[in-house]
Symmetry: C2
Subunit: 237 residues, 2 copies
DNA sequence: TTTTCATTTTGGCAAGACCAATTTTGCCCC
DNA sequence: GGGGCAAAATTGGTCTTGCCAAAATGAAAA
């Protein structure tokens, strides 16, 4: 995978933006460093200045560089670490999820309605029938997000959704954990989801919280076991 | 030129991007709608095509439009609601904060070290000495974020930080609530922060949670009182 | 009606020119 | 030598023109 970073079909300004971003990362340019002038960069990358310019605007919008009229283009803080940002460690994410989703489960038990209950049940069935990791994972996500939706507190939905997305950051993928979670022999996750659903239907907030926490602790167990096959420890950095 | 929406000092491509975004919002263009061709748009807005092009790339990067070579520029889903997206209602955000920050406080009580404790104490002192709303608000933020940091769970820091940022979305500002919070006669928030600090120093998790929740409930009270002066009710859409 | 293909439309990219903000340079004066 | 100031060089900002390639269009052919 040492090959090109960008597909040849992609528009030039994107390829250029990627290349410049890579230069920043590779040469470990400190925040505040000034990039070569547009004209020079354009010449070096064999593109017109207009194209180079579009690329820089793309980088500016995504917060990687700051353009100062008449002065130059400077790399920002975000850019320096953009490349090797592995995100929070999976275990840390699980810490956060245990703390938050436990409460969400409890709250959901009190505020859930029939429709949400059905939606969550549907996600469980979908997970049971899933033949591929992707489908399985998506159903899993639907369950946890659905629980957040049941609280009727929108910000919580975003938070759970975000935490979930981060679970599949590069480092996590590299550990091959998703397959580990999917390949769990008797699908403990599925069993746990069903247990939570029962508690939810019974409107038992305490039980919900406890079972959700137990579920996430088990995810941690699977996670640790899966990462044992990897040479790296899952600890951050 | 007609009354511009954006400051004249801003670079043209940004002004153009804003104007196009406003057109999309004003005319309520549905996702999938095709915008006029670049040449035509450029002419209508009195800018060069290259500039119009930079603006469209900015919009593309920020996910508001999709550009298809040889076909046209189409508005995406995100764009349609971008303009009138007031974000979650403040009360909803408080719901989320009560649920999450209560647990964070409890957890912080168990994992905080001397340094974090000092940092949090510093934020309280800063808030006490604050003469302007901005300074006061910043110290307030430092307190809540500091608490999250004390848990040593990074994702929680991001979450608290985000929730805090959203508290000051357009709708919230419009309600003049920040001044309301700042102008609180005897600064109840400051008193509450001190109480939480005490519980934190005593490593009393339960007390921490309770006091944090009490604090946020009080914030809600102030919030509601402040919004009473507004014609709009703070309820979500 | 369906298919094919030339035409038109639309975005993609390049090159050159000039303007405006900023930075640098060099000179004058103290 | 040091400080201040103005010209010059540097650098991003914008416009214009030109041509190419992909996609959509519509007429002609099957």
């Amino acid at each position: 995978m040492a090959g090109d970073t960008t597909a040849p079909g992609m528009r030039l300004y994107r390829q250029v933006a990627d290349r410049v971003a890579r230069i920043i990362a590779d040469e470990a340019l400190k925040p505040g460093t000034r990039l070569p002038p547009e004209r020079e960069l354009a010449a070096r990358l064999n593109v017109a200045r207009s194209t180079l310019r579009e690329a820089m605007i793309a980088l500016e919008i995504s917060g990687q560089v700051t353009i100062r009229t008449g002065s130059g283009i400077y790399v920002t803080e975000a850019a320096a670490s953009a490349e090797d940002d592995l995100g929070p460690s999976p275990l840390e994410l699980l810490d956060a999820r245990e703390l938050i989703e436990g409460e969400i489960a409890a709250r959901a038990a009190m505020s859930i309605d029939a429709n949400r209950l059905m939606a969550i049940e549907a996600s469980i069935e979908a997970m049971a029938k899933a033949h591929e990791p992707d489908t399985h994972r998506e159903a899993d996500r639907a369950f946890h997000v659905g629980l957040a939706e049941a609280t009727r507190i929108d910000p919580l939905v975003s938070i759970v959704d975000n935490l979930w997305s981060q679970m599949f950051s590069p480092i996590f993928e590299r550990m091959g954990v998703l397959t580990g979670l999917f390949g769990d022999p008797d699908d403990t996750a599925l069993r746990h989801h069903r247990l939570i659903l029962d508690a939810l239907a019974a409107r038992d907030a305490e039980l919900c919280r406890a079972r959700m926490q137990a579920h996430l602790i088990d995810v941690r167990r699977v996670l640790l076991r899966a990462s044992a096959f990897s040479s790296d420890t899952p600890g951050n950095s």
